[in-house]
Structures are given as C-alpha cells and as structure tokens.
C-alpha cells in the first residue's frame, strides 16, 4: 500500500532526480558514452498532477522534459526521489505503471512501414494485452477517433506525415489509459489537424473520459489554449508551475493598458504621469482625441486611478483595452529568471 498522498494524485513526483554519470571501470574502455562529467538532467523535481487534469510541460531544448517523461514511463531509472503514476511506484511497480499509461511520442517512424495501419495497431494492442473481439473493436474505435477510418488498410509507408502522427495518437489510446503522455503531438501536422487534435485532447480525453494528460509542447499558445496548469522547466528544474494566472502572479508581469479618450490638456497629462503604479505613461494627442497607454504591475488598481482622474476631469473615455502578458513572455521571463537565479 503506497502512502496516501501518492494515491490521491494521478502523478505524484517527489524530489525526482536523474544524474547521468560517465562510465567506470571496463565500461569506460568500451562504452559508447561521451560523458566526461556527471550531468544532472533532472534535479529534485516535485510535481502533483490531479486526476483528469491537462498538464503542460514546457521548456527549451535540453531542459530535461524528455528525461522526466521517460522516468515516469519507466524507460529511464531515476537516480533518487520517488514517482507514482496512478498510485504505482515507477521503480517498484513498473509493470503496473505501464498498464496505466500511454505514450504518444513525436517519433512518427515508430511503426512497421510494410504493414497496414490496422496490422500495426493489432500488433501493439496485443502487446498491451488486448485480444479477440475486444481488440478489433478498440482498434476500429481509435482509428475512427483520429479520423483514419478510410485508410486503415493502407500500408503505413504510404501515409502522410500528419496521418503518421495520428497513428501515434491512436496507438497511445489503445488501452484507454488513465494517464497519457503526449510528446508534441501536433508537431508535424497542419493547423487544422492540430486544432482537431487539441480539441480531441481537451474535450474528448480530459473532459468526457476524465483522463489525465501530460502534454509536452514547444507551441506556447497550444499550452496556453488547452492546459489547466503549466510547468516551465529548464536545466532539469521546474522553474514555475501553476495556472496561467498563477504564473503571471508569480512573475508579477506587467499588464499593458490602452485608452482612447477625449482631448487631454497639459496639466492633466502631468497629473496622469504622476499617478502611482502606472508606469511608462504615454499620451498622444491628435485632432480627434487622445491615446493613453501605460503598463502596471498592480493590475486593476492603476487602471482605476487613471479612469477616476479622467472622469473627474470630464474627459470621455471611448475605448479601454488591457493586454495581459502572453505565455511566450512569461516563458522567456521565467527561463531568464531561472538562469539569473542559477548564476546568483
């Protein structure tokens, strides 16, 4: 029986670390490894992912995302720390872990090219322990689900890149796993198919079927669009983790505001520029009115001060727009902060 905290979550990771070391002894002579110094690919990662959560894992190349996912999928042994998937220990109960997970890789080659899509899925379904009618039914279901119904009996080598990617998704869904790891599932597909896959993940897998999904992606807008929470990783560490709002709060990223108003005179302009928390105040006056823009870390309170001052001065406000920091800016900010922190 695992401890309670690990079984409460779909994924529970505690101080998980992977340190790759150079080979020793005889292996040093014959090993293919080029490693000269120990490398910490993942360092003390803590994660708690709820059941039915769509969790995004973001990070630049070499951040440690793939090593982390592979440890959770039992393909790489952790150096220290613990991880539980669906309540099962990834080291002690790897067989049970594999029964609970599906992995949709970005490697579209990972099929037998001389076999049809159906034959390929039949082969992998058997390895997942499916057989007979149940297997045939499930294969037909996943083929239809990813929209390959009309092409299921074609040789895999005749498929387009997008169709191959869909096959990766279909294979990952064969057992209807409790936890699904998706490693850049939309990398090689056209925007329409990508949107279809995103909606399928969010609405069908997570909302309708209650599956837990961990999505690794380089498309920041994709993570922003579909994920409930996002972890940003670099140098083997989780630098920040939370919902988009939480990430914005963590970084206290400024919000940009723009107002289009009636004409503002010089005196009022000076008053506006002196308002607290409304930084970088820009006021452009033209024949039709005035364009006021500023940034603020204090969110609504700075905007309220600006609006109050304008209305008390009898200025009409025609338009007001705010723009929150995009995930792209947050990502860059968090990674930069992480690097600075490391340097410190």
């Amino acid at each position: 029986m695992n401890n309670l905290s690990s079984t409460d979550y779909a994924i529970y990771v505690d101080q998980l670390t992977k340190r790759f070391c150079p080979p020793k002894g005889l292996l040093k002579l014959f090993s293919h490894s080029n490693l000269k110094q120990p490398v910490n690919a993942v360092s003390g990662v803590d994660l708690k992912i709820d059941k039915s959560e769509l969790f995004g894992l973001l990070g630049p190349n070499g951040a440690g995302k793939t090593t982390l996912i592979k440890m959770l999928c039992t393909l790489i042994a952790p150096t220290s720390g613990t991880a539980f998937i669906n309540g099962y220990d990834v080291v002690q109960q790897e067989h049970l872990v594999r029964q609970s997970i599906g992995l949709v890789g970005s490697e579209e080659r990972s099929f037998y090219w001389r076999l049809s899509a159906r034959d390929n899925l039949e082969f992998f379904a058997t390895l997942y322990g499916l057989s007979g009618r149940k297997m045939s039914k499930r294969i037909s279901e996943v083929i239809d689900l990813v929209g390959l119904g009309d092409h299921a009996d074609r040789m895999f080598q005749t498929y387009s890149t997008g169709m191959k990617q869909k096959m990766c998704v279909a294979r990952g869904l064969l057992t209807d796993p409790a936890v699904l790891f998706l490693d850049e599932p939309t990398r090689s597909v056209d925007p329409l198919t990508a949107e279809h896959i995103r909606m399928f993940i969010k609405e069908t897998l997570v909302r309708d079927h209650g599956r837990t999904v961990v999505l690794t992606t380089h498309r920041l807008e994709e993570a922003e669009q579909v994920c409930d929470r996002i972890a940003i990783m670099d140098n083997g560490r989780i630098l920040a983790c939370g919902s988009m709002d939480e990430l914005r709060t963590i970084l206290r990223t400024p919000c940009e505001y723009e107002l289009i108003t009636g004409k503002v005179d010089g005196k009022l302009s000076e008053q506006l520029k002196k308002l607290p928390h409304a930084d970088n105040m820009q006021i452009h006056v033209d024949a039709s009115g005035c364009n006021i823009s500023f940034v603020s870390h204090k969110g609504g309170s700075a905007l309220a001060s600006v609006i109050r001052l304008l209305t008390e001065s009898g200025i009409n406000i025609h338009h007001c727009r705010s723009e929150e920091a995009s995930l792209e800016r947050l990502f860059a900010g968090i990674v930069k902060k992480g690097i600075d922190g490391t340097n410190d």
Binding site: K18, F20, P23, L27, F30, S31, H32, S33, A41, T67, K70, C73, T74, L75, I76, A77, H95, R98, Q99, I101, G102, L103, G105, E107, R109, S110, F111, Y112, R114, L115, D119, E122, F123, F124, T126, L127, Y128, G129, S131, R171
Partner: protein, 268 residues
C-alpha cells in the same frame, strides 16, 4: 500468453512476404550453396573418407547436415541482438517497452520468426539433398534428431541472449558473437571432421557446444542413433544449457538495468 509471440510471428511473416523477390532469392541462394558443396564432395576419394566413416562415409551428407544445423548457431547468436538493433533503429522499441509486455517476452518473441525460418531451411536442405542429390536419410531417428534440435536451439539462443546483453550496453561489437560465431565454424566440425585438426585444436573444439550439436545431429539423421547412444553428446548440450541459460538471464537483467540507468535503452 501465446498471443504475444504469435503477434510477432504474424508481423514478421507479413513483413517478410511483402518482399517477395527477396524471399525467392533466399531459397535460390540456399539451393546454390547446396550444389556448391555437392560438387566439392566429388573431389573426395575413398581414402579421404576414412574420417567420415562413423557418419556413413559420404562428405556431402556430412557437410549438408553441418550447414543446416549451423544455421541455428547463426540465428541464435545474431537474431536477438540484430532484432533489438532493428527495433531501436526503426524507433519501435520504445513503443514496445512502454507496454506491459516484459522485455524478456519481447526479446524471445522477436527471434521466433528467425528460428522458424531456420527450421524450414534445415528441412528444405535435407529434403533437397535427399530427393535430388542422393543423401540417405532413411535411417533417421526422429526422436533423437528433434531432441538434438531443441537442445541446440536452447543452447545457441542462450548465447544469443548473452550477445544481446553486450549490444544493449555497448551498442556495437560483442565478444560472444565473435568467439562462438568465428571459432565454431573453424573448430566445430561444420565443413570437415574434427579428426583432421591438430590435437590441440581438436581438444579446444570440445569446449564448444556446436561440436556436440553437430555430432548428435549427424549421427541421429544419418546413422539413426537413438537418445541412449547419444547420451554423451546430448548430456553435454544439457550441461551447456544449464550453465548458459541462467548466465544469459543474469547478463540480460544486468544489461537492462545498466541501460535504464544510462538512459541508453533506445540508443543504437
């Protein structure tokens, strides 16, 4: 339990038969190699057949069975490691390892097709030799021949798993294949009787399982020797198996653990 090996068999059959010309050429190549040895055997006169007396005195029959059974050594030594390497390069190994199927099942199932094909080759070799080239297999003792074949497969497959363990960790180059593959052809009595070797080399051949496998195969197929008469050869094969099986399992388990620690399970 049987579904998984069958799935591999089905996959490999479909894949192999999709290359029809290659399949046909393999059969043609086999016939050409038989004919080559058939004509070489005509060079042997009566005096040189002294060393072949216990096998019936016919060089062609001797070498035919040697080549046919050596196929098991080749496939045993290479099918596991080449199977792993092929799956790694195709990118399918990761997809397999993520399933609840044990790696040992995957590894053993991967080689079934190769062993089946070798068995068919062996049968075709013997049938072609018997029907068209006068090899006398009328004395065959089927029971001892099949037991020899089974022990040969077990013994060579264990060596193959050891070989795969090296490949799993070092990726290229394994000493097991080099030692047993290279030395067996020279010392194991595949193409010529061990009696023709210098004494020291003949003694060294007694350390190789192929020596006993080929002797038992020839005597059971050509001379009709039963299990009782082949108890020494079969006993040696059992002895080799008893050492090789646990050793191969230990090595493979260690190799998998090492590859998981290195993160090199998918590297090639």
């Amino acid at each position: 339990m049987i579904n998984r090996p069958l799935a591999f068999l089905k996959r490999d059959y479909k894949s192999a038969t999709s290359y029809r010309l290659n399949f046909t050429l393999q059969i043609c190549g086999m016939i050409l190699s038989i004919l080559t040895f058939f004509f070489i055997s005509r060079l042997f006169d009566e005096s040189s057949k002294r060393l072949l007396k216990e096998y019936g005195g016919d060089y062609f029959s001797y070498v035919l069975i040697g080549i046919a059974f050596t196929g098991y050594l080749g496939v045993g030594l290479s099918s596991f490691s080449s199977g792993l390497a092929q799956e790694q390069s195709l990118g399918t190994l990761e997809a397999m390892l993520i399933t609840p199927t044990r790696l040992s099942t995957i590894l053993l199932s991967m080689s079934i097709w190769s062993f089946l094909l070798t068995s068919i080759n062996t049968l075709l070799f013997l049938a072609f030799g018997a029907i068209f080239l006068g090899v006398n297999v009328s004395h065959i003792n089927l029971g001892s021949a099949l037991l020899t074949q089974a022990l040969t497969v077990i013994c060579f497959a264990s060596l193959g798993i050891m070989s795969a363990s090296f490949i799993m960790v070092l990726k290229r180059g394994d000493p097991i294949n080099w030692i047993f593959g290279g030395v067996s052809a020279l010392l194991g009595g595949v193409y010529f009787p061990i009696g023709t070797l210098p004494k020291a080399l003949a003694k060294a051949s007694s350390l190789l399982p192929i020596t006993y496998a080929l002797r038992a195969a020839r005597l059971s197929v050509l001379q009709g020797y039963g299990i009782k008469e082949l108890k020494f050869e079969l006993g040696m094969l059992v002895g080799f198996s008893l050492v090789f099986i646990p050793l191969s399992m230990l090595m493979f388990r260690w190799a998998i653990r090492r590859a998981r620690i290195d993160g090199s399970l998918m590297h090639y």
